[in-house]
Point group: D2
Chain length 417, copies 4
């Protein structure tokens, strides 16, 4: 039985990685006041302070407590406050009440981070393979929360009538997206999933063969301009484009446009405040239901995740990521397969489920992925809020089909003629 | 592009089928009073009267209205009352209010059935291919509602403190189920889906190749006795067995046992009233969440639908069906693959989704299957409430993972060592 | 301590009353099919069959069981099914699920009624004072349910898209309502509440003195024409007319007109089906919130219940009642105080609460009135669905401020200049 | 037309009052961090920051904007953010989302307060009668929010698993409460309501005569020890003590003890953190439903508000108030009528409604009281969170019968023998 998290790098490199990842989190929190770090604008959103503490608790609970001799936990009560969903660890604070925690103060959480960092450096100085394996997991876990810090604070600020900016936007790179064009998917028996040395989550394993039918996938993401066309064509009023649950959601939620767009479809809320909607930039903050309805309107469909992976394999891992700083999807430009990584997560039509032979980790860490394999859809490719070191072709992100607060966009596919 | 509903039988045979299927519906309604036929005990349940009318409306709307020259609709208002979910047909009565319809009276609905039947016989006497194709679809549609008549009235009566019996139970066939044993699934590239002459729904098409990894599937369904062991072992109190959504559902709904079991796990509500639970009979009325948790507890998993289909192919289509009259799952007996058809629908771990190359019908009939491909799981094999002529190895039934009012049971699978 | 239910009439008269009241209930149920008698269109509404059974259970439980030697209850399970809210009697069927009871059949409930009637006649042939006192209470109780049979079936039929008529309407008496005019209320210290021989509920006792400030009350009810003026004047869109809770209710429920009015304000649903709205007839099916908002718009207020009682004292007890058969409010005509009794219940601005010195009955019968003295408002004067023998100036009806399915209307009052 | 807010004090005194009241608010906020001031733990609760801003907006909107020539509003957007419920002023931020407002920062709100204070001092230096009248209203308004700052932060901290203390408790004054004893209410015609020079809200006017029946009222509040007896006697499990709505609330909310008591009834959450429950101190944080049920269990009832006022008239206005600093109810000691003012608000059995002849203010200020006269009950006497200068015998506080987060307690009454 091979481990699902195989990567056990050199200790010194790992210590450096640890510092870099933890520092990037601090950099993301830097523009925010203690008050900003408090807000939970909906149950799915967590306060920044909670993310800062939870990621530290992860290292404390799964590493320091278990592997660093003589380690004393920073505060016994933090286990209850900052456990997210590991039932095998114990009871936890109710999720929708994370915004009630004015105490511990942000300053205390920052002290917690420093405490954990100092001890982690000690631990990493002579780490065995299991420590290194878990540290790598902890860092990847922290990177996931980095993305959530961004998407959550975007939602938080969008709910404030003052529409504050998280920070001023970098200059947008000009682009002239090429026409939509479909590129063949490698068909027949294909190998899917993670193999080799680098880190991957357990849900990317084991590598296995799948059968892919002939299909094509679009060269770039769907743009705001194309999506506006769908709206103007009655997209949100015509049930024939929608899944049954999607149509109910549209009715119940009164959806008429992507999250963050204003009523006249001219401006959208961004991490730099309200900004004009660029027609040439990718649409994002759409749900699976909207992505699927758009695709049906466009006489297309969403890609299957295996198709996507086979098609994306070999593409360069570059793109518009969190560390490049735009924090907003950018227009495509150039030839070939564009925006494959970064910019916006791409909804696939594949329900999130276990690969054949999948086995979760033992113990509480086994709750990381497996127990969420129900009711969600896979997204691929990362977004402008993902760190560039946190993505790979086999990466499987997953959200509920009505979720819209992630940077989630649309890439079209079609069955081959 | 081949039609998803290819079967266009001989007109005379079809007229006979029509009569037989419609008569079986009447037979199912026979034990019920007009009052019984009124009740809607939850939004998922429809009153028997509604089923009787809706199935007739299906023929009137999609056949008589369009293909029988000079046909006058029985009552213009029935289109609104008895359309289920075909938005392209027009607006419809709100689903949770079907139990409010004391008018039209049951007698009037019976007259509607006769009216439709008389005209259908005329139409079928010289039916072209499209009429025959749609009639076959309408009959299969009616058979689905036959099963719902049984499962819905079971729920209705279970909500009545008097616990009335739908009808007295036939003598239960004695059985001595063989020990649980796992039988190999044909691995490698396999052909899945419907092909050939017989009727199938569009969602069973097109036939296509899939890659199946080595796996085994259990020789029979999980029994009540085995399931009781799971309960006694803390099954409903230990989150480690459950999907995250399943665990929430258990908490919110206060589930502690299958639907219809009494508190001390000794008796269950059946279509023959309260009856002792037989340890050797298959457990049923469990949700996907319960089936999945049981499997995890048993160090197994649920089968994938492709595995199931490849494994079940070649099995005889016999079993305990609605027309054999038990209307309750029966103990397995014998050797080989048992209870593959009939007894209880078998939850698979496959989310319900489109086969590669799937295309729904044009127009309103295209709403039949495709728009439900979200959030549901596939069940296979039919149940004791399914008519024996309504099942086949490629048949895909689908329900939400929290649904329990169907005759849904558990067959285990495992990855091959 | 005087009894709150003092009336203990002559046994023979009582037996005749019993027969008459019970017969009137049967007369009200006569136009309805067994299916009609099943429907519960919202939790506040009970199926007719339930009313028929519950009123019989009341006699069985509080009289036959206790006072008729050797009496055998008709069906032990009916106590659970048809107890409404008497916790001291025992557990009861959940209120919102009364519409699930296809069994017992209507025919069985009718047999139950006959059984109870036969035994009650025996019991009444030699009844002591307590039996007579309780029988009188039971008959008044039945009369309350007679009114509910009418208001509930009206709601039930209004929810059916076929808009069936309960029965054809009697010819409407023509009327030419006099102009609105205000008539003085007797001010100063006034005696309020029930005294003397006739029956009254415990909540009308004890008689007591109150202080009334100078005020005037309108000669007639507010008409449909006047209410339409309020609507056209933006009544439902201007928060300044509304109580805070009323305004929330308007928003949440989307209220734009009285219950049963159609969108263009031209027709309303009645017990005779959809009918044109007569401008000169009293508005009814308005909530307390609407009555109060209308009054504020009209620079008036609703009467206090003591004002109403002092003002109404001495008026003739005639009016448009259930037994006169119109079953719909009729236009006022004539001079003086009009429509004081019958036509429509009149919302007062008085919250329903205990009179000074109020004591409920002992035991379960004490649950009849007292425990509802919270959150409701008093209505006075009876309606077109009230039996003429069931009303008096001291009668206190009570409903929640958002309730609209009773025949509830508006009479204005003002502080004296 | 007499004004409902008649008090127009000397300008110099008023300026001093203004400073004192505003300073006390700052004193209450002093122990709290910016993060503490953010939290909204339920829709009824507002963040401290919101209270600080809203009270300032009240002066800005109703005074500075209208009466100070050349005044420039501090921030145009604050009108939307910090209007509470004055529809005639304009649209407002959604109440349940007040906790989302990390911006404006607390520091900015403090600057807003200073800005308003500086301009108010200018305005008050030469204020006409209307300005003085409104300023007095604004100060009373601010005092109401001072109480809410305390009760809201108590709720906020109680929801934090760390159970932080708002501040350390002052030494509790020892007490030995006298036995419960009932003291006569002045019966017959009594004058009720506000008259004379001092400030009162419009809802205390006009003074008017009422008729009071013979009754007695308890010398002191019900104690924790007495209430624990009720619990041990099955108080929360016996429906016969409860109003129908109260019993439903007990079931739905799972109430088993007062808000803030721990499970074993030994300790309670206070503004000084978790503390032992003193048997001799008054019970508080009980709903109307609990107060009413306790009274029924004790063979008593709650006082009517007119009884209370007539009975309390002439009592000294001293007591345990916010400015004495205990911030928790204290044991009674001494003779006569005890704890009449301060300690805990006393639920009366009177629904909150308009006095005869009541007229709200014109314009938006008319929304202050009148529109809440529905569904709430009157409480009298002030609490340990009320400022000593903010209470009087005619003062009418009001809350919904299920509300428990105020310092609300119980004083018993009985009809005179």
């Amino acid at each position: 039985m091979t481990s699902a998290v195989p990567s056990v790098p050199d200790p010194q490199l790992l210590a450096a990685s640890y510092q870099a990842v933890r520092a990037f989190t601090m950099q993301l929190a830097a523009p925010l006041s203690a008050e900003d770090c408090m807000v939970q604008s909906m149950p799915d959103v967590s306060p920044t302070k909670w993310h800062l503490a939870h990621t530290s608790w992860f290292f404390e609970h799964f590493l320091l407590r278990e592997f660093l001799p003589g380690y004393r936990v920073f505060d016994e009560r933090f286990g209850y406050l900052f456990n997210s969903y590991y039932y095998q660890v114990g009871q936890m604070h109710r999720r929708p009440e994370r915004g009630f925690l004015s105490r511990p103060a942000l300053a205390e959480v920052m002290a917690y981070r420093e405490h954990v960092d100092a001890h982690m450096q000690r631990l990493l100085s002579e780490a065995d393979a299991e420590v290194r394996r878990r540290t790598v997991l902890g860092l990847n876990h922290e990177q996931q929360h980095q993305e959530l810090i961004l998407t959550d604070i975007k939602h938080v600020f969008s709910c404030n009538p003052l529409k504050p900016a998280y920070r001023e936007r970098e200059d947008t790179v000009a682009g002239s997206p090429p026409p939509l064009r479909f590129i063949e998917v490698p068909a027949g028996v294909q190998r899917i999933g993670h193999e080799g040395e680098g880190f991957a989550y357990d849900n990317e394993s084991p590598v296995h063969e799948v059968m892919i039918q002939p299909a094509v996938i679009a060269n770039r993401l769907v743009t705001n301009g194309e999506y506006r066309e769908f709206i103007r064509n009655g997209g949100y009023r015509r049930p024939e484009f929608w899944l049954s649950q999607g149509w109910s959601t549209v009715q119940e939620q009164g959806w008429q446009r992507p999250l963050y767009w204003n009523e006249d479809l001219s401006a959208e809320f961004t991490l730099a405040g309200m900004r004009e909607i660029r027609d040439d930039a990718p649409v994002c903050h759409v749900s699976y239901f909207e992505a699927d309805a758009f695709a049906r309107w466009a006489d297309a469909r969403l890609p299957r995740e295996a198709e996507w992976e086979a098609w994306a394999r070999g593409c360069e891992l570059g793109g518009n990521f969190a560390d490049s700083g735009a924090l907003h999807p950018q227009p495509a430009s150039g030839d070939g397969k564009l925006q494959v990584f970064g910019d916006a997560w791409e909804w696939t039509m594949s329900a999130y489920s276990a690969y054949p032979g999948y086995r979760p980790d033992d113990g509480a860490l086994g709750e990381y992925n497996g127990k969420f394999m129900c009711g969600q859809y896979v997204l691929r490719g990362g977004s402008c809020a993902t760190h560039s070191t946190h993505i790979r072709p086999t990466y499987r992100n997953f959200f509920y089909p009505a979720d819209r607060w992630q940077f989630s966009g649309i890439r079209l596919a079609r069955d081959a003629a």
